[in-house]
Symmetry: C3
Subunit: 158 residues, 3 copies
């Protein structure tokens, strides 16, 4: 007999575009308190709602490699800030303040996260308020996004 | 009869890679004027030509979620800079200058854009020239790239 | 006789997600020397090992468009830093230091790289040590990641 028909065309390759996670938020209070997550309440982008402004934490829903960056206005006193991953500070930014010399301090980091991990910024220090500041013409911001999803985890999700 | 030949290999997965938009530019004049888009004329990357150095604006061609970041040298006076989206300032950076203390100020933001949207940086203030500076060994830069294309729009483009 | 069975289904299409390159590193010595690549020895992420802490250089393995960013603590003296691509400085950051006023300086750039290209940070100046600093609660960092692989090169790799 004749040979059979050709097989079906293979499945479409894996898309990178099903895996979205990004947030970009700003400070809306003048001087956030120390030793607790900074709560950013001004939203530039948070469509997936992975940043929670009640806790002040980014909640990782999609396992993978993430980029985070922050830009802080230093005013009234020195700024000492840590980026936390799950209750552990992993990166530190320090900028001294002098009168009439408002400064900007910033940081960036790439971290591999599991679903359920949390990432946030926190001011440390003895005093009740740190030196991180924002007002109507002066932002302090925190942004992050998924660079590469963990495909071994993504495969199990399908 | 014999089985048919294997089917063709599947199509390439929908890739984020068909959707390129990135620019990275630097200031080449010493002190740009206030209240008009800063025109960056030094090109680190602009292959898609989505940044227009004549207008000083990034022109969004591919709808989607974008990341923007800038790093400015603060010299001669205080720097007050806004990031604009379509004639509206959406983010503000302020850094005070003091003599013999050149500073660096920076910002980052994630924004969802439609095709035709424009994004740029602008110095505000009463004076003719602001405190943003660059020279041969001292850059002030503006960069941005497409994080995630808007696939509902992308599907209509195919 | 009857025709044979249909052929096997074709192979899955190429994935967009096979192209990973990212690193995020911090300084672990107090004051790195001038006129040689800064060696960052604290690893936040380097799974592909494209950043080499022995040479202090990022080694491009996958041709494409990359984003790089750095955030440096300015302490003890003025900081003058260049980002190098293959022995040529392509971007410069300058921040002056004044006593009791630790500062932060940062930069970002997007560059198109070929496999084999190297990218690093270097302090310039007459003195043996520059003004870039880090300690246990004060990071200086360098991060980068592949934004878009060069698909013409990627196709040849298959
Ligand atoms: Ca300042
Ligand atoms: Ca300074
Ligand atoms: Ca300072």
């Amino acid at each position: 007999g004749f040979p059979g028909n050709p097989g079906l065309k293979g499945a479409r390759g894996e898309s990178a575009l099903s895996y979205l996670s990004a947030f970009s938020v700003g400070l809306s209070e003048l001087l956030p308190p120390t030793n607790t997550p900074i709560r950013f309440n001004k939203f530039f982008y948070n469509d997936q709602r992975h940043y929670d402004d009640v806790t002040g934490k980014f909640h990782c829903v999609l396992a993978g490699v993430y980029f985070f960056t922050y830009h802080l206005t230093v005013y009234t006193k020195d700024a000492r800030v840590s980026l936390y991953k799950n209750d552990k500070p992993v990166m530190f930014t320090y900028d001294q303040y002098q009168e009439s010399n408002v400064d900007q301090a910033s940081g960036s980091i790439i971290l591999k996260l599991q679903a359920g991990d949390k990432v946030w910024l926190q001011i440390f220090g003895e005093e009740e308020f740190g030196g991180v500041y924002a007002d109507n013409t002066n932002d302090s911001t925190f942004s992050g996004f998924l660079l590469y999803p963990d495909m071994s985890v993504a495969a199990r999700r399908r």
